[in-house]
């Protein structure tokens, strides 16, 4: 691990002041990094993948609004420093939007959920082996312009949606799928004050600059997430398919919220994980289902449309069928929920 200067911020303004003292194209690769749970940052610093010059410990901000969950009948505000375990166990979240609670409970281990913050979780970086192991020279995400070792490498875990010729690394998180499915908004504190952006604009597809993973600028700090809830979102779930039953990243996952009236899909929200380079809202699948009866034919059609743009590699073609079946099973299970 490279040496770094360690600072503590007692107010959001102090943190952002510390964080914005340098410029750069990318917050995730910036020389100043915020430390919350540290479960990604310390790991990648040990691997020499991340080499910040300054680490700003923001955990003291958890005593304020950044550490709180506010739940009303119409929505949630989740502070960025709320720990994954606390949101996963929150009674109102579990009952009013099981998708959110399940996306958190099915991620990582209890130790990591106790440590990891919601803000840090959505910024979790890919598990691509070629990104995490610096002995591989070719990684456009780690060293812009160096190539992509995964293209010709072992790419069973890699993405089939949202890829580019530069990068096929999978976005590894789960909670972000719930956020993007529910049209959450992200509170961001930056040098210009607080702004609110759609969650869907937080992550950037790799394109030709996979090193720029988010729309955050250096020094920007996520303060919280706002989610508008409707009563029908009690009929929601997060289904995660993986190589072992616990403590593993998704090969494919589906976040589904379903509103069925008179046998027809009045509204539906779908996001997919484990198969895409970013948290993936399946707009085409939603459009295919709205106003339709939820039956085998419509679900099959929605699943096919969700993966219509899939681009597969040597070892990950199975993710198309697995992702489609995961979505169909999630829809079936959501439809069968007693709420």
């Amino acid at each position: 691990m490279q040496p770094f200067i360690f600072e503590r911020a007692d107010t959001p303004a102090a943190a952002v002041r510390a964080g914005t003292s340098t410029r750069g194209p990318s917050a995730v690769a910036g020389p100043i990094q915020y430390l919350a749970g540290g479960t990604t940052l310390l790991d990648l610093m040990k691997l020499d993948v991340m080499r910040p010059q300054t680490v700003v410990d923001i955990n003291a901000l958890g005593d304020g609004p950044l550490g709180r969950i506010e739940a009303t009948s119409t929505g949630l505000r989740l502070g960025a420093l709320v720990r994954m375990a606390d949101a996963a166990e929150h009674p109102a979240i579990r009952s009013d939007c099981p998708m959110i609670a399940q996306s958190l409970a099915l991620a990582a281990s209890q130790q990591i959920r106790n440590m990891a913050s919601l803000g840090g979780n959505v910024l979790q970086r890919t598990r691509c082996t070629y990104f995490r192991d610096v002995t591989y020279q070719a990684c456009n995400k780690r060293v812009p312009g160096s190539g992509c070792a995964a293209m010709d490498g072992f790419n069973r875990d890699h993405a089939v949606l949202g890829t580019s010729d530069s990068c096929i690394a999978t976005y590894p998180g789960d909670f972000a799928q719930a956020m993007i499915a529910l049209d959450a908004r992200v509170e961001v504190i930056g040098s210009g004050g607080t702004r609110t952006i759609p969650f869907a604009t937080l992550h950037r597809r790799p394109g030709e600059t996979p090193d720029v993973e988010t729309s955050l600028r250096p020094g920007d700090m996520i303060a919280g997430f706002r989610v508008a809830l409707a009563p029908w979102m009690r009929r929601s779930l997060y289904l995660k398919v993986r190589d072992r039953v616990s403590y593993e990243f998704a090969l494919a996952s589906a976040a589904v919220a379903l509103d069925v009236k008179d046998g027809q899909v009045a509204d539906v929200r779908i996001a997919l994980g484990g198969v895409a380079t970013v948290p993936w809202r399946a707009n085409e699948a939603e459009d295919a289902l709205r106003g339709q009866a939820l039956d085998d034919r419509t679900m099959e059609g929605a699943a096919q449309s969700a993966f219509a743009t899939a681009r597969t590699q040597a070892h990950n073609a199975y993710k198309v069928a697995l992702g489609q079946r995961t979505l169909i099973r999630a829809l079936r299970e959501a439809a069968a929920m007693q709420i």
């Binding site: 691990m1 040496p3 770094f4 200067i5 360690f6 600072e7 503590r8 430390l35 749970g37 540290g38 479960t39 310390l42 790991d43 040990k46 691997l47 680490v55 410990d57 955990n59 375990a85 990582a108 281990s109 209890q110 130790q111 990591i112 106790n114 440590m115 616990s246 403590y247």
Partner: protein, 211 residues
């Protein structure tokens, strides 16, 4: 050829005694360094050791550490508390699990500097001063819940928290909420049995009844 290390450990002492002696002798020079060399808590030169106070098993330890030091390395290399184990050092195996306050966390992914002022409990802090084992420790012995023992301190700390969290209601629950602790010897069935035994024992100790 007696070195200072030999004198510190004491010829003929047991490994446990050596570890305990090591704890007291290592902390003392660290205290002296902290008092004389590093007056500032967060030096601007990242190569300079940073003074910090760690509260472990009810005792404050003043140490001066490289700011990169993880809580795990601070415990093992600077406080002589080698109960928490270094398995993967990347948050994947759970061997380094300790309690931070009431919560189980991974000490290998925690900077020592970030936990100042917060109580840390390691496996060395579970038994009573008279040597009576914690119910989870006793249950691991009774149920033969380990083979090589390397993962065991992490398993036991994790199990203590798992029971207190209310995540030990049934076998499936235990398996899910203990999934962050890997055991290469695959003692899992006996670990589940030990946690069930310990849960009953802790309930009896807390309320005087088994329910």
């Amino acid at each position: 050829m007696a070195s200072s290390d030999d004198r510190a450990s004491g010829a003929g002492s047991s490994r446990r005694e050596f570890l305990l002696v090591g704890a007291s002798t290592v902390a003392a020079p660290a205290l002296a360094r902290a008092a004389t060399e590093t007056p500032r808590a967060a030096p601007r030169d990242p190569r300079m050791p940073a003074a910090m106070t760690l509260n472990v098993n009810g005792h404050d330890h003043r140490v001066a550490l490289d700011i990169r030091t993880t809580l795990l390395d601070a415990l093992r290399e600077h406080l002589g508390l080698t109960g928490a184990k270094k398995g993967c050092d990347h948050g994947q195996c759970g061997a380094c699990t300790v309690l931070l306050g009431e919560r189980r966390v991974l000490s290998c992914l925690t900077l020592a500097a970030s936990v100042q002022g917060r109580p840390v409990t390691t496996i060395e802090g579970l038994a009573k001063p008279d040597g009576t084992l914690h119910p989870v420790q006793q249950a691991f012995v009774d149920q033969d819940a380990f083979q090589c023992g390397y993962c065991t301190p992490g398993q036991i700390i994790s199990a203590v928290a798992c029971i207190k969290e209310g995540h030990a209601e049934n076998d499936a629950d235990i398996r899910e909420y203990m999934s962050g602790n890997l055991c290469r010897c695959a003692a899992y069935p006996n670990i589940v049995a030990a946690i069930k035994q310990a849960k009953r024992a802790m309930a009896i100790a807390a309320t005087g009844s088994g329910r």
